[in-house]
């Protein structure tokens, strides 16, 4: 896992790098959960996401938007995602626990994921991500 929060005036900007797209998406997911709920997250309850999109950016945006939706309506805080991408199709297995106000109230609500500041690039070492969460 490797991501860091970069200074951004209005919102939350994250940079990540990973050897594969699967790991990059998983890092972006972890960053999202960390921003929203803080570091104390456990597993035990499972959800699955499957979707397709026209390119990597759209795929990531749709994936994280779906995570926001499930997390909110099911009241779940996730610790980990196993992501498998094949072409422009993604399947992700999420592992989490019910929201606990005492342990998960240390973050900021993320309102949405847009293309604003979203870039996925690739070089010899793997993939790099720049993303902004609208908070």
């Amino acid at each position: 896992m490797s991501f860091e929060e970069i200074s951004h005036t209005a919102d939350v900007r994250i940079q990540a790098q990973a050897p594969t797209r699967n790991e990059l998406f998983s890092d972006a997911f972890t960053a999202l959960m960390q921003v929203m709920y803080g570091p104390d997250r456990k597993g035990g309850q499972h959800r699955e996401i499957a979707l397709s999109a026209e390119d990597d950016e759209a795929l990531l945006r749709d994936f994280l938007s779906e995570v926001l939706f499930i997390s909110e309506v099911d009241g779940l805080v996730f610790v980990q995602a196993t992501v498998m991408i094949d072409g422009h199709t993604l399947v992700a297995h999420l592992d989490g626990e019910p929201f606990d106000r005492n342990r998960h109230s240390f973050g900021t609500e993320v309102k949405g994921i847009s293309y604003s500041g979203l870039a996925i690039t690739r070089d010899a070492n793997g993939y790099m991500l720049d993303i902004v969460f609208d908070v």
């Binding site: 005036t9 209005a10 939350v12 939706f69 998960h104 900021t108 309102k111 847009s114």
Partner: protein
């Protein structure tokens, strides 16, 4: 100032056609020299990008709280002709009808100063922060009525006074709402969140009127020096966020379908009168109505606490006004010598209709619309009035707040929530939040001075100062 931007007045700047390719109109923004020193080049680029959109009228505008957003800059205003123009979620934002309202009380500062018990009771009565759920069970039928009727639904359900509706922009209900374009997912998110504050910069504050600049307008608005008021800042919660997420996707496809060339993918849009454009507008209006109902429910919770605690009449806490600052509206404006029905986008900007304009309460027709500009928890909030100058220059719009200058990550590193809360307490301000991070995130230091932002809009004349309020009790989401 940024290269290529021309000064055209003491506080007015122009981004000429040609600043970037394909601009259809010039950009205009309002800024003092000192605010100009912290202007981000990216925000000016976004202002210019908006000027390339089809059907844009007169100028791509930005208020003095301009900063970098997605699609439009925050503080951005743009009007589009119905025949040729487009509608874009990038001109509204995720938090549809994020807005502010203010109600007065018969209390004075001495009645509530230092009363942590009041702040605690308000905190317990209004669900706040990440993961907060409403104590109110909203059925799916009620949810639909919330989306179609807005604050009207809330008042009918017992969450307010009939007079409240007269004091809301659009009477708390956009009649173009069409809940059939709100997805099942958005509705699912809306059910448990009615009457919740949310997090980030949203707040409920007990404030005191510190200064009156315009006695006639203040009296008409019901404001008096030394009076205790309550200000509520929040929006359409997960329902609005989901409407934005869903329609961004359909409008990306529509951008291609209608062969609209964009300088930035974030400006996904569709012709206003296309099926996709109408669907977004109907869903956005439904989310806007949900936000009005939400603010009305929070108002009810706060009034109930105050009435019980101080033995004052629930009816003795009238609403001054409620404004939306993230919204697209169909409005009539004077353009090229005639009245035209246009679509105005306000993204972090407040409507500021002047005297005689439509949709102003009858008793304020001579004065102009009340405009509410929230500060941060240690700094002043302002009430202003709309002007005829705003109708001429900015399609009846003004600023919406202070605007951040420090990132959240920097704030968390540099500032301690505990120390900030202690410092505010020394100033007589009691703060309650779900955690210390939320206090550091929103500390007074992270915002531009709201004083300077409102001074610019006052000097330019796109709204005029009426009163200044400062907080003494703060609930952060």
């Amino acid at each position: 100032m940024i290269d290529g931007v021309k000064r055209i007045g003491l506080y007015e700047w122009e981004v000429p056609v040609g600043f970037i390719p394909h601009m259809r109109v010039p950009g205009r923004f309002f800024l003092s020299e000192s605010l100009g020193r912290i202007l981000e080049p990216g925000a000016v680029q976004q202002l210019a990008n908006v000027a390339t959109l089809p059907g844009i009228i007169r100028h791509s505008l930005a208020m003095p709280d301009i900063h970098w957003g997605y699609g439009f800059p925050i503080g951005g205003v743009a009007a589009f002709s119905l025949a040729e123009g487009v509608i874009s979620p990038g001109g509204v934002g995720f938090d549809i009808n994020c807005g502010v309202r203010l109600f007065t009380t018969p209390l004075a500062e001495k009645d509530i100063a230092g009363r942590r018990d009041l702040v605690d009771e308000l905190y317990n009565a209004v669900p706040t922060g990440v993961g907060a759920k409403s104590p109110v069970k909203v059925s799916s039928g009620s949810l639909d009525s919330m989306m179609m009727n807005g604050a009207r639904w809330a008042v009918k359900a017992g969450y307010g006074l009939p007079g409240d509706l007269e004091r809301c922009e659009d009477k708390g209900c956009m009649k173009q709402a069409d809940s059939s374009h709100v997805s099942a997912k958005a509705k699912q998110r809306g059910v448990p969140q009615g009457g919740t504050l949310g997090s980030g910069n949203h707040f409920l504050e007990m404030q005191v009127v510190r200064e009156i600049y315009d006695p006639e307008a203040a009296q008409a608005f019901g404001l008096a020096s030394g009076q205790v008021c309550c200000m509520i800042h929040c929006g359409s919660r997960g329902l609005g966020h989901q409407v934005c997420t869903d329609h961004l996707k359909t409008l990306e496809l529509a951008t291609k379908k209608y062969h609209i060339t964009l300088p930035d993918r974030q400006l996904a849009c569709a012709p206003i009168l296309s099926p996709e454009g109408k669907a977004y507008f109907g869903a956005m209006a439904a989310a806007a109505n949900y936000a009005w109902a939400n603010r009305q429910m929070i108002t009810h919770a706060a009034r109930t606490v105050l009435a019980k605690k101080f033995g004052i009449d629930y009816d003795g806490m009238p609403l001054v006004y409620d404004v939306a600052h993230n919204v697209a509206k169909r409005e009539e404006h004077q353009y090229e010598g005639k009245r035209e029905d246009v679509c105005v986008h306000r993204k972090g900007a407040t409507r500021a209709f002047g005297p005689g304009a439509s949709d102003i309460p009858a008793d304020l027709a001579r004065i102009g619309q009340p405009v509410i500009i929230p500060g941060s928890m240690g700094t002043s909030s302002y009430v202003l009035k709309g002007t005829r100058t705003a109708m001429e220059k900015t399609f009846g719009s003004t600023c919406h707040g202070a605007g951040r200058i420090m990132s959240r990550s920097q704030a968390k590193k540099q500032l301690s929530g505990k120390e900030i809360a202690a410092g505010l307490l020394r100033m007589g301000i009691i703060v309650r939040a779900p955690n210390e991070n939320a206090i550091a995130d929103e500390a007074p230091e992270v915002y531009k001075s709201s004083d300077e932002v409102v001074n610019v809009v006052h000097e330019v004349g796109i709204s005029r100062l009426v009163a200044r309020l400062s907080p003494i009790g703060v609930i952060k989401g």
